[in-house]
């Protein structure tokens, strides 16, 4: 039996790398002229995009494959990344707020309200990301790999965020303003050491549960191999190293650890990683251009995370622009080196609807939960915030429902 799972036409090859790399660097120079932090964040955004592309790191498939295939491959990578980031974040937050018991929260940390908005946002987001086949960061880097379906997803996300902006003030008044922000170091006077220990213990517990889950599902060490190139000469050996970095995919655990390091660097420079803030700015600008300007959002200055940045950042080149749009050239460079860039059109027209619908749900959900799998999860758990954990559970539940849905779509 033979299956062809292909779509689209071959795109540019490595020869296009030089102009794309050069223009990305030129962008950084323009930024550096006004604000050095912008340029540094731009390069970190590119590094994140490159890492996502190289390790095929996809938060949507991390959650989806648990239920679809019983596999936790990428989830292990996420756990490693969270552990690395939690340790780094704890050091940074400790410098900013040495005595958490006094009640001050560290600036810029993603400590978000915990409650109904977290759960609802996570459910919508989890369902939407499985339906569309990628979360916000996943859709962004796949845009750069040439997946046309992901362009539609990102358009859906922006539309969903636009809808949320229109209704945000209602959510704020009825739900979000009553929700507490629970920061582990000040909660029950845990302090940094115990809060970090608790976070790492929970990550270890999650790891053990995943090992049990995979064993129960019957996922075993695969038998078989990739055809390997011979390694007899110096040239062949060096080529093998080159291939391991630039051509073949990285193990998810390596990708996760690298991403954990990158978010720590981003926080050292200014803020933890988040990509929804920038897309919210696009959504609000598009709505305003269409004559449906959203009312000024209430409460966002107190909330922090992606929402606050969407409200306070100005101009085209903002810090959120750097860490969001920077993903694209980073992933493009990764895809071009590996010869993986290709314009890929979804095989069926219904897939566009799936991408758009999933994108809208993700946009609305991430607006409500004040972040996506990056801002409200990957940057929030290391901020030693309870919100990240609750969001993760809701994401899992939403992804489970999403898997039931996609199994029924022919």
């Amino acid at each position: 039996m033979s299956l062809r799972i292909l779509g689209g036409v071959n795109g540019p090859s490595l020869s296009t790398f030089t102009p794309s790399g050069a223009s990305a660097s030129a962008t950084a120079l323009v930024m550096a002229a006004t604000d050095a932090t912008l340029a540094v964040l731009w390069f970190l955004g590119m590094a994140a995009g490159f890492t996502l592309q190289r390790s095929r790191f996809c938060f949507a498939s991390a959650f989806r494959d648990l239920f679809l295939f019983g596999s936790a491959r990428i989830m292990y990578g996420i756990l490693v990344g969270l552990a690395v980031a939690a340790i780094g974040f704890a050091v940074i937050m400790h410098t900013a707020v040495p005595f958490p018991a006094f009640g001050a929260l560290p600036p810029e940390a993603h400590i978000l309200p915990v409650g109904l908005s977290t759960v609802l946002g996570g459910l919508l987001f989890g369902f939407g990301m499985v339906l569309s086949g990628g979360c916000v960061s996943g859709s962004l880097y796949r845009m750069a790999e040439g997946y046309v379906g992901s362009w539609v997803s990102v358009a859906g996300i922006v539309a969903g965020l636009g809808f949320l902006s229109q209704t945000w003030n209602w959510w704020w008044r009825t739900v979000v303003s009553t929700e507490p922000k629970i920061w582990l170091p000040s909660w029950l006077n845990l302090g940094y050491a115990l809060a970090l220990a608790l976070t790492l213990a929970l990550l270890l517990a999650a790891y053990l549960i995943l090992v049990w889950w995979e064993t129960r599902s019957g996922v075993s060490t695969p038998e078989g191999a990739r055809r390997e190139q011979p390694q007899d000469t110096v040239r062949q050996r060096l080529l093998a190293v080159w291939n391991a970095i630039f051509v073949r995919g990285w193990p998810a655990v390596v990708g996760g650890a690298a991403l954990g390091g990158i978010v720590v660097l981003m926080y050292m420079v200014h803020m933890p990683w988040g990509v929804t803030g920038e897309l919210t700015r696009w959504a609000n600008a598009s709505m305003a251009a269409l004559g449906f300007a959203a009312p000024p959002a209430l409460g966002v200055a107190d909330i922090g995370g992606c929402a606050a940045r969407a409200a306070t950042e100005g101009g085209v080149f903002s810090h959120t622009f750097s860490v969001t749009v920077g993903l694209l050239p980073g992933a493009l460079v990764g895809a071009l080196f590996a010869g993986e860039f290709k314009l890929r059109f979804p095989p069926k027209a219904t897939r566009y609807l799936q991408s758009l619908g999933g994108g809208i749900l993700m946009g609305y959900g991430s607006g409500l939960a004040i972040g996506c799998t990056i801002g409200a999860f990957f940057s929030s758990i290391p901020s030693l915030s309870i919100s990240g954990w609750l969001f993760a559970l809701a994401l899992g539940a939403g992804a489970f429902l999403g898997v039931q849905a996609i199994k029924r779509i022919p």
């Binding site: 039996m1 295939f69 695969p222 590996a338």
Partner: protein, 62 residues
């Protein structure tokens, strides 16, 4: 991905499956599933970007 796994489920090791794909994540997700349904896999890069994943039933001698 889903199609390949469904094919293995349906064939239950009676017949081999050849998957030709341009979606790199298949290279990570399909092999562990092969073990689950009693298949041995080989991966070969047959284009840029295109890979051929051959899934052979464990009992087969070919």
């Amino acid at each position: 991905m889903l199609k390949a796994v469904e094919a293995m489920k349906k064939l239950k090791g009676k017949d081999g499956v050849v998957v030709i794909t341009d979606h790199a994540p298949c290279l990570e997700t399909i092999p562990p599933q092969a073990g689950r349904y009693g298949y041995i896999y080989t991966v070969e890069q047959t284009g840029s970007p295109e890979w051929t994943i051959t899934l052979t039933p464990k009992g087969a001698t070919s």
